[in-house]
C-alpha cells in the first residue's frame, strides 16, 4: 500500500495534539519482516498525558519514533496510516520541514540517560544547540536561556560547563529533559524516561516532570511498562499488544474496570499489595514472534479466556464509554459497558 493512499482524511479535531490513525510500520530485514505496528490508533487531547503501556516488542518505542519521523530507514517502512501533530500531517513533511518541528513542537526523551548525551560536549552546549537551531540566535544569546533551563531542572549553573560523565544518571536525565523542553514543545514524548534510574531518583524525576507539564501546559505521551508510573503521571492509558491498542481508557477505566484479559494479566503478574505473599498469576507463554503474528486476536495463544473465534477473526473495537474501549471477542456492545466477564 502506498503511504499517500492511506491518508484517508481522519478529520483531525482541533482539540487533539496528537492523532495517529491506523499506523502500520514494518522493519524489513534480511531475517524477515518485523510487523512492529499493526494499525495503531492513538489520540492525545491538548494538555493531557497518555500512558502507552506494553511489554518489550509491543511497538511502544516505534510509536514514539514514528511521531518524530525518526524511524530508521532502512529497514523501517511506514506502510500506511497517518500522524497528525497539532493538525499537521507529519508523514507528509519533508526532512527540512521535520527539522523545524523536532525539538520545537514535539520533543522526545529517551530511555537511557547514560547514553543519550554526547559524552564529548559540555551539557550546556547540548541545550544551547537546540535553542540556537530553533530560535535562530547566537550562542551568546542562547546561553542565558540554556542556563535557565538547567536551573529549572534543578542543576546549578556552575555545573553547566561540565561534561556528561561528571553527572549522575538522574542529573543526565534532567539535562535531557531540559533539552526536550528548551523550546517549549506542544507534545513531549517520554520513552521510559525513568527505567534506568533508581527508585528515589525516579521519584524526583517524575515529580519534576509533573510540575513542568503543568507549567508548560503541554501534552505528553508517556511510554512505559510500569503501571505504577502510569498511576503517577497519566490521565489516559493505552495498553498495546503486538503493535495495536487492545484497551484504552482513563486511569480508572483501566485500573478498576479492567476489560481486556491482557490488561488483567499484567496486573496479575504484579505482587498484590494487599497480600504480597500470594502467588503471582503470570500470563502464560511468550510475546508472539513479531515476524509471525498469530491470526485472529494476537493474544489468543496466551489468553485464558480464548474461544474458537479468537484464533480466526481479529476482534473489533467495543466502546464502554467514549474513552474506554477494548478489542476483545469477550465483549459486545452490551457487555462491554457492564463489565462483561472479567472482574465481575
Amino acid at each position: 500500500m502506498n503511504q499517500n493512499d492511506a491518508v484517508t482524511a481522519p478529520s483531525p479535531m482541533d482539540s487533539l495534539e496528537l492523532d495517529i490513525r491506523d499506523l502500520r510500520v514494518e522493519y524489513r530485514t534480511m531475517e524477515g519482516t518485523v510487523y512492529a505496528l499493526n494499525g495503531i490508533d492513538l489520540q492525545i487531547p491538548k494538555g493531557r498525558t497518555l500512558g502507552l503501556v506494553g511489554e518489550t516488542g509491543a511497538g511502544k518505542s516505534t510509536t514514539g519514533l514514528a511521531i518524530m519521523n525518526l524511524i530508521p530507514s532502512p529497514p523501517g517502512v511506514i506502510v500506511s496510516g497517518s500522524i497528525f501533530l497539532g493538525g499537521e500531517s507529519i508523514l507528509k513533511k519533508s526532512e527540512k520541514e521535520m527539522n523545524l518541528i523536532r525539538g520545537n513542537k514535539v520533543s522526545m526523551i529517551f530511555q537511557d540517560p547514560m547514553t543519550s548525551l554526547n559524552p564529548v560536549v559540555p551539557v550546556v552546549d547540548q541545550i544551547m544547540e537546540v535553542i540556537e537551531h530553533h530560535e535562530k540566535i547566537s550562542p551568546r544569546e542562547s546561553l542565558p536561556k540554556a542556563l535557565e533551563m538547567l536551573e529549572m531542572v534543578g542543576i546549578p549553573r556552575n555545573r553547566a560547563h561540565e561534561y556528561p560523565h561528571q553527572f549522575s544518571g538522574g542529573m543526565k536525565q534532567r539535562v535531557i529533559i531540559a533539552i526536550a523542553l528548551a523550546c517549549s514543545p506542544y507534545l513531549l514524548i517520554a520513552d521510559e524516561p525513568t527505567t534506568a534510574l533508581d527508585v528515589t531518583i525516579q521519584a524526583q524525576v517524575l515529580d519534576m516532570m509533573r510540575e513542568l507539564r503543568k507549567k508548560y501546559q503541554m501534552s505528553m505521551l508517556m511510554i512505559t511498562h510500569d503501571l505504577g508510573i502510569v498511576v503517577e503521571i497519566c490521565d489516559l492509558v493505552a495498553v498495546i499488544y503486538d503493535g495495536r491498542v487492545v484497551e484504552h481508557g482513563t486511569l480508572r477505566d483501566i485500573f478498576i474496570n479492567t476489560r481486556h484479559p491482557y490488561t488483567e494479566g499484567l496486573f496479575n503478574s504484579l505482587p498484590d499489595m494487599e497480600n504480597p505473599k500470594a502467588e503471582l498469576k503470570p500470563i502464560p507463554g511468550l510475546m508472539p514472534d513479531p515476524t509471525r503474528i498469530p491470526t485472529g486476536c494476537p493474544f489468543h495463544p496466551r489468553c485464558g479466556y480464548a474461544m474458537d473465534i479468537c484464533a480466526k477473526t481479529r476482534p473489533s473495537r467495543y466502546y464502554a464509554s467514549t474513552e474506554h474501549y477494548v478489542e476483545c471477542h469477550l465483549y459486545d456492545e452490551k457487555t462491554v459497558v457492564s463489565g462483561g466477564r472479567i472482574k465481575q
Partner: protein, 318 residues
C-alpha cells in the same frame, strides 16, 4: 538444624581507585536461615551485588568472615573452595551476557559438570540436562538452540538450570528478573519459589525492586553506600520502616493502584561518593531527620525490636 546456613560477619570489600579506596561493602553482617530468603535491596552502587559476589568468594573479600554451613570460606584452600562452591551458586541479572553465545542450551547447562569433572558419561549427562530443563520449564525441543535464538525469560531459565545443576543449597540471585517484562518476571519468580519449596533452597535475593522483594523474601536488608542500614522481617519492615532511607525508598515505589497514594518522601540530592567515606552517618547529607550527632559519629546496627535491626541514632522500637 539450628545453625544458620550462612553467617556473614563484618564483611568488607574495598576496591583501589586512583582517588583512593572505594568502600563497596563496608562492615556488613547478617545470618541466613536454611530454606529462607533474604532480600538485599538498595540503589545502584550501594554494594549489594558486590556483597553477593564476595559471599561466594567470586571477588575476594577485603576482610570479614563468611561461614557457610560451619565452614569458614575464606580459610579454605582454592581446591576446597571449588568443592564448596558446588553448594553455592549464582544467577545473574542479564542471562545473555553470562551465557557463552557459542554454547547451545545443552552445552551451557552441562558446563558445570565439565568444570567440576562430574558425570563424565555423555549419555548420563544428557539425561541430567533434560531433567534440569524439565525442572526449570524449558521445552526439550530447545536443547540445541543458541542463546540469541531465545528470549530473556528462557535465557534466565537456562541460568537457573545451570545454577541448579550441581544441586546447590544456596543461591545468590543477583537481580534475576530486572531485565524481564512483567509477565515473564512473574513466571520466573513463581518458578524460583517453587524450586525453593521443592529443593529446600536458600536464597540471597538481590534487587532494587521493592515490590518484588516484598513478595519474595522472608527478611529484607537495606543497604546504603556499602553499609547495611536496616534489616527486618519483610512485613515488619514494610509496616514499620525505621531508617529514614528505608522510609524514603518505600515511599518512592510507584504503586499501580489508583486508590492508594502514599505521601512521598522526596530525597534531596543523590548518592555521595563511596570513596573514603567520612566516619559519620553516610545518609546524613540527604536525611530529613538528621541531627548533629549524625554528622559526628557513625551509627551502629542495633536491634530495636525482635529481629528488627537498624543503624540510625533516631530509630527506636515499636
Amino acid at each position: 538444624m539450628n545453625t544458620p546456613l550462612l553467617e556473614v560477619k563484618n564483611l568488607k570489600k574495598y576496591f583501589k581507585t586512583p582517588n583512593g579506596m572505594l568502600h563497596a561493602v563496608d562492615d556488613v553482617s547478617f545470618t541466613l536461615e536454611r530454606g529462607s530468603t533474604l532480600g538485599l535491596v538498595g540503589e545502584s552502587g550501594c554494594g549489594k551485588s558486590t556483597t553477593g559476589r564476595a559471599i561466594l568468594c567470586l571477588t575476594e573479600p577485603t576482610s570479614g568472615q563468611i561461614i557457610f554451613d560451619g565452614q569458614h570460606l575464606m580459610k579454605l584452600s582454592p581446591s576446597e573452595l571449588r568443592r564448596q562452591r558446588q553448594d553455592m551458586q549464582i544467577i545473574f541479572q542479564d542471562p545473555y551476557s553470562s551465557l557463552d553465545p557459542r554454547f547451545t542450551v545443552a552445552q551451557a547447562i552441562e558446563e558445570p559438570f565439565r568444570i567440576h569433572k562430574l558425570i563424565m558419561d555423555k549419555r548420563e549427562r544428557h539425561k541430567k540436562v533434560l531433567a534440569l530443563m524439565d525442572t526449570v520449564g524449558l521445552a526439550r525441543r530447545l536443547i540445541n538452540s543458541y542463546p540469541h535464538e531465545l528470549d530473556g525469560g528462557r535465557r534466565q531459565r537456562i541460568g537457573i538450570a545451570r545454577a541448579l545443576a550441581l544441586g546447590p543449597r544456596f543461591i545468590v540471585c543477583d537481580e534475576p528478573v530486572s531485565a524481564l517484562d512483567v509477565s515473564i518476571q512473574a513466571q520466573i519468580l513463581n518458578l524460583m519459589k517453587q524450586l525453593q519449596r521443592e529443593l529446600g533452597l536458600t536464597y540471597l535475593f538481590i534487587t532494587h525492586d521493592l515490590s518484588v522483594v516484598r513478595h519474595f523474601s522472608d527478611d529484607i536488608a537495606v543497604m546504603y553506600l556499602g553499609r547495611m542500614v536496616e534489616k527486618a522481617p519483610t512485613e515488619a519492615l514494610f509496616a514499620h520502616p525505621l531508617h529514614p532511607y528505608t522510609k524514603a525508598l518505600l515511599s518512592a515505589i510507584p504503586i499501580p493502584d489508583i486508590d492508594r497514594r502514599t505521601e512521598r518522601i522526596l530525597l534531596k540530592g543523590e548518592l555521595s561518593s563511596p570513596i573514603e567515606p567520612a566516619k559519620i552517618c553516610r545518609f546524613s547529607n540527604r536525611c530529613g531527620e538528621c541531627i548533629d550527632l549524625c554528622k559526628e559519629e557513625e551509627p551502629l546496627m542495633h536491634e530495636v525490636s525482635p529481629g528488627h535491626f537498624v543503624s540510625c541514632f533516631r530509630a527506636s522500637g515499636y
